[in-house]
């Protein structure tokens, strides 16, 4: 082994260990790893910057700005309350509706923002109903990760894959909507059989839910109109992305600029809502991965994976699907996907080119996104949701969550395996 390869591998493993150890902020760890790659001469600064996928960064920042403005409108609370009232305050009905609201919003917003919006409202609804919030929280966490899988902008792994492979918003919808809907329906059916059908509340409690006035949630109709207008343009831009020949970051950042122009929101406050930790985490990781790529580790890993799967596309797809799901349940899926992207690109050359390996990208997306449901630490949204609940005195235990969520995650991956087999082979 060359010295460079040894050093780069050491730094890469070090970064991974630090991320799992979770003692230091993940952005700091990634940036430090990136700096070490440069200091030790694995790559120079120019190569490091080359390694950063600014399309991913731009798309993330653009959507975070748009979401920061839109969340102030109260539209989310409006939709969620309206949904709860549609089922006349029936607890299982509310759980069912909130699950779908979470999934749909997660497909368009990032999952963390979605749970930040839905969890407090859910706690209020369950406290009003005087019933346990736990099953609601678990269902919402799971729905958020499932819903986020459906689109280019729903979950960071998809943003990275889409950007690296040049896949559009509609490519994701066309390829992932079927497995996502299937997983969602099966998951909710299982939850209904085991829990939902036993949920009952008094008539007076239902009446209290019916006395919610969702119109009061819409605070600023002017801001709402402008936000919905820009959001519609941005989504239309994503849908027509292929024909417009525009990268996703251009669409998101243009939308963000337009929204900031027509609304008079305090720009400092809006920018403060951008999750800079995530942005710097991505930036650092891209550089670390560039380091191992230049040092030749990605090449070797691709060769190992090829040897292991015998170069068979279906075996490779299933290995990626299951491997990424299990790994993503325990470690952050972002570094994993960042590593897998150059690896799969490398394998693509030997497996018949970009078009031939498309099923591998969908397998990676399904595995990495749905895998986040496996444990309480599997995705940022899970940790954030549990955090809000814990501050209100409802502790979501790691083991309790695992007992419910892990089997459901495995079922979702079985469904995805069938889908990949039937659809692509």
């Amino acid at each position: 082994m060359k010295t460079e390869l040894l050093i780069a591998t050491g730094v890469f493993i070090g970064v991974y260990i630090m991320l799992i150890w979770d003692r230091f902020n993940r952005a700091v760890v990634a940036l430090l790893g990136a700096s070490i790659m440069i200091f030790l001469g694995i790559i120079n600064q120019e190569q490091a910057i080359e390694g950063v996928d600014f399309n991913t960064i731009g798309l993330l920042v653009g959507m975070m700005v748009i979401v920061a403005v839109c969340r102030e409108t109260g539209i989310f609370q409006y939709v969620a309350i309206k949904a709860a009232k549609l089922v006349k305050g029936d607890p299982w009905g509310i759980m069912f509706m909130l699950a779908w609201v979470t999934a749909v919003f997660s497909a368009f917003l990032d999952n963390v923002t979605t749970v930040l919006l839905i969890v407090p409202l859910t706690l209020l609804i369950t406290e009003e109903m005087e019933i346990s919030p736990y099953p609601f929280l678990v269902v919402e966490i799971i729905s958020s990760n499932i819903g986020g899988t459906a689109t280019l902008i729903g979950d960071p792994p998809n943003i990275m894959i889409g950007s690296a492979v040049g896949l559009t918003f509609m490519d994701f919808v066309r390829n992932l909507i079927i497995p996502v809907l299937l997983v969602m329906v099966v998951t909710l059916f299982i939850i209904y059989v085991f829990h939902g059908r036993k949920m009952k509340v008094d008539e007076s409690v239902r009446e209290r839910i019916m006395s919610f006035d969702e119109r009061e949630a819409l605070k600023d109709s002017n801001l709402l109109k402008k936000s919905l207008f820009v959001l519609a343009i941005v989504i239309l831009g994503f849908v027509l992305q292929h024909r417009l020949h525009l990268e996703a970051a251009t669409i998101a950042l243009s939308g963000a600029a337009l929204l900031l122009l027509i609304t008079d929101n305090d720009i400092h406050e809006t920018f403060a809502h951008v999750e800079w930790t995530t942005i710097f985490f991505f930036t650092g990781l891209f550089v670390v991965v560039k380091g191992i790529e230049e040092a030749g580790l990605i090449d070797r890993m691709a060769r190992w994976l090829m040897e292991w799967t015998g170069g068979d596309l279906f075996t490779t797809a299933v290995s990626i699907l299951w491997g990424s799901a299990i790994l993503s349940a325990f470690v952050d899926n972002i570094p994993f996907v960042a590593t897998m992207i150059p690896l799969l690109k490398k394998m693509g050359v030997e497996l018949g080119g970009t078009d031939a390996i498309m099923p591998l990208w969908w397998a990676l997306s399904l595995g990495a996104c749905l895998g986040g449901n496996g444990t309480l630490i599997g995705a940022s949204a899970n940790v954030v949701a549990a955090g809000i609940a814990e501050r209100e005195g409802y502790r979501v235990g790691f083991k309790e969550f695992l007992m419910v969520a892990f089997p459901l995650m495995i079922i979702s991956i079985i469904i995805s395996t069938f889908y990949v087999y039937v659809w692509y082979f």
Partner: protein
């Protein structure tokens, strides 16, 4: 001009051992927003404010601003239960840290504390050199002094 020149000297206080319910009665009867908690020697231990009581009985996701506006929701039964549970506690368990200054501090500093953008201080307790309560200052005490022309 010093803090001691503009403070109110007659302060309603409570002692440790007072229940929150009793303290609330004192708060309501005196018509004040806060009541200092002092020990037998008059040393300041903390302060009990009506706002702090409200923040304790509200769900955290509301008081911490994750759900900023709840105009759409009906009354929450939990609020009453939480108050009942809290009412039995000793004020010492419920009080918060107070803003305390020496009686010799300038009115400029007093005005600066009140004008702070994010702190929302409702009243400043004034102590002597031994940390004993000697008075209280509300924002309107400063305004009254300004109106008089110093």
């Amino acid at each position: 001009m010093k803090a001691s020149d503009i403070m109110t000297r007659d302060v309603t206080t409570v002692r440790p051992g007072t229940s929150l319910r009793e303290a609330c009665e004192i708060l309501c009867r005196a018509g004040v927003r806060q009541v200092p908690v002092v020990d037998d020697s008059g040393k300041i231990l903390g302060v009990l404010t009506a706002r702090h009581i409200l923040s304790l009985i509200l769900p955290r996701y509301i008081s911490e601003g994750q759900l900023k506006d709840v105009a759409f929701a009906p009354d929450l039964p939990l609020m009453y239960q939480r108050f009942e549970n809290l009412a039995k506690k000793d004020v010492v368990e419920v009080m918060e840290e107070s803003v305390v200054i020496r009686d010799t501090i300038s009115v400029l500093e007093v005005a600066t504390i009140f004008a702070h953008e994010r702190r929302h201080v409702e009243a400043i307790l004034v102590a002597d050199g031994d940390g004993r309560l000697v008075g209280i200052i509300a924002p309107h005490d400063v305004v009254r002094m300004l109106k008089r022309g110093g």
